[in-house]
Amino acid sequence: MDLAQKLEILADSAKYDVACTSSGVDRPGRHGSLGSCAAAGICHAFTPDGRCVSLLKVLYSNACAYDCGYCVNRRSNDRPRASFTPRELAELTIGFYRRNYIEGLFLSSAVLGSPDRTMELMIEALRILRQEYRFNGYIHAKTIPGADPLLVERLGLLADRLSVNIELPSEGSLRELAPDKKKSAILRPMGQIAVQSAASRRDLAVYKRAPAFAPAGQSTQMIIGATPESDRHILNLTEALYKKYALKRVFFSAYLPVVADRRLPALTTRPPLLREHRLYQADWLLRYYHFSAGELLNEAEPNLDPYLDPKCTWAVRHPEFFPVEVNTAPREELLRVPGIGPKSALRIVQARRMQRLGLPELKRIGVVLKRAQYFITCNGHAPARGTRAEIAGALLDPGAFGIGVQQLSLDDFAPKPLPAAAPAVHELAAQGVAPAQAAQLVREEALTCLVRRM
């Protein structure tokens, strides 16, 4: 098998892993080596599904000894198998990196024989990159559940970020669908990485040349929609993971049926992309907006609203919090206003030190007022008064009703619901309602329902 073919198979097998970011570590170039890292991460390409390509994301091997129900690479699935050699992988990374195609490597693998053997091969590939090619770019490596802690440690000394995928959001689902993996095999390395990474940061603070262990921290990923957990369950788990293991990111991946299995959603199920999107929005609120999971969802409302982003949902539920005065409110309160994000909030706080802010000033600062205008005052004046229906109309997320031409083939110009449109829109369209009309019907209903709640 030639290298191009291997690359195709092993990229195709890795594509469902969503975490393709190169963020979390700032490292300038060094004389005598190749590469640098930018803390914010850099995307280098965007695939036709709109996802960022930042890293050479491949599996070391897809010849798996395990049989997880939700996975294309499961032992019992019939598909072409391939494995790299450590050197092939290193050369590929360097060739792509020099051409500015990628920020580095994201290496993961199926279980090739045993977890330990797989990890040893991955470590050898990274060793060649770091030591022989003096590669100073980004490396994200996924540990293999069940591998020896010493191997996890060696991997962490070569990689910038480590991840251990939690895969499914509950132990019950894991037992049911991934019988070869134990919860402890996932949480134990997570704990080890959290401890060693914190220790290494402490050492580095004292002694600059101390070896860095996963300086960009760790992340995890879970599959959404393969199993019955609610958004509330998922968000609570996410919050707990951030706290307990100091994770940098939790990624969600909308389940895409790849194999027929009676324990899983039917093959015709559409991936729940809108739900995934809402979970990411909620995740942002946890990380950058000082929200807690308990504020966003509760027993009575265990799932995120498909038609409203979670911050708007919170605002609708808490009219007593508003309006917020832009000239005096602390940053945390500004952040709760629909339409004001961390950047706008910071600019408001800076600009108001020099001048009073009215509506024209807010516009110049770049605050998007479509939603915010109903939730703020400037010098005590409300910039806009709207009827409940007008406000509700501004709050609804247009993405949930997105219709567009997708061009699945060259002669395809018919508008269709976009992949992340609400399930109700997809269903109506599938029943034969014209897409634009389907979107409008669903929107009207969502609007009526929202006005009633306000």
Partner: protein
């Protein structure tokens, strides 16, 4: 107060260089006036106002540069970077007015986004930085005989903003970035950087390079999840104007070998 100045109906014409622009700022203070327009040679014919030609004088330019330097990196970079903007008529005037605001109000002027001139200077800087960042993401090198080369078609003069990133990232490499729109190139050779005037860069075909590009394209195709296809999102993140210089966005040439589906 030195900021006292009246708005005139005279336009300043200068030579289009940054030093020349700094001399316009100098002139504006010397005459205690704010010009009606500030024009580089390309825009000069269009003006409706009376004209004053501003000579470029290195000593004056240095004095203004030193003054801007004292206002802190935020103000200085906003003006220097905003100046690389090459699409907005009136940008020179906006930057001059912002410079005056900064001299009057100090380093905080950078954060006075409620002010029209400060907001415009900010917008100019942001547009240029945004484009430079896009090229940090989307620029593609090709290798010829051990040397890397890339062609870009930017709206603004972004080469100076690419220099630091690529020199730091590729410390041991020689490379060339050719800005085909502005006819300039950034050349790094033997750890030295030069800017060259250059009209064309057409590397000869090379089979090894073609193989790398084919590998990359194959990887790129394999990554796409058809069920999630969303061409609109792709275009939002990667605007179409960047596509012509990116190998993976080109359709396959006829003899590119068999494709797997």
């Amino acid at each position: 107060m030195p900021g006292q100045a009246h708005v005139t109906d005279t336009a300043y014409h200068y030579d289009g260089t940054f030093a020349g622009f700094l001399c316009c700022i100098f002139e504006s203070y010397a005459r205690r006036e704010i010009p009606a327009d500030v024009c580089p040679p390309q825009q000069a014919q269009l003006t409706l106002y009376g004209v004053r030609d501003i000579a470029t004088d290195a000593t004056r330019a240095r004095r203004v540069a030193a003054g801007l330097g004292r206002l802190g990196p935020a103000v200085r970079d906003r003006i220097a970077t905003g100046f690389l903007h090459s699409a907005a008529p009136g940008k020179d005037l906006a930057l001059l007015r912002f410079a005056r605001l900064a001299f009057a109000r100090g380093p905080q002027a950078a954060q006075m986004l409620g002010d029209a001139d400060a907001a415009e200077a900010f917008a100019l800087e942001r547009a240029v930085l945004g484009e430079a960042h896009h090229y940090i993401e989307f620029l593609r090198f090709e290798e010829r005989g051990g040397m890397l080369g890339a062609v870009i078609h930017p709206k603004h003069c972004v080469l100076p903003l690419l220099r630091g990133h690529f020199c730091s990232r590729l410390p041991g490499e020689d490379f060339l970035i050719f800005d085909a729109v502005h006819g300039a190139a950034l050349l790094r050779q033997n750890r030295r950087v030069q800017y060259l005037a250059m009209q064309r860069y057409e590397p000869a075909p090379d089979t090894e390079e073609a193989d790398w590009q084919a590998l990359w394209k194959r990887f790129f195709r394999a990554l796409t999840i058809e069920e999630r296809r969303n061409a609109r999102a792709q275009q939002t993140h990667l605007p179409r104007r960047f596509w012509p210089d990116m190998c993976e966005m080109q359709p396959d040439a006829p003899g590119d070998g068999p494709k797997h589906t």
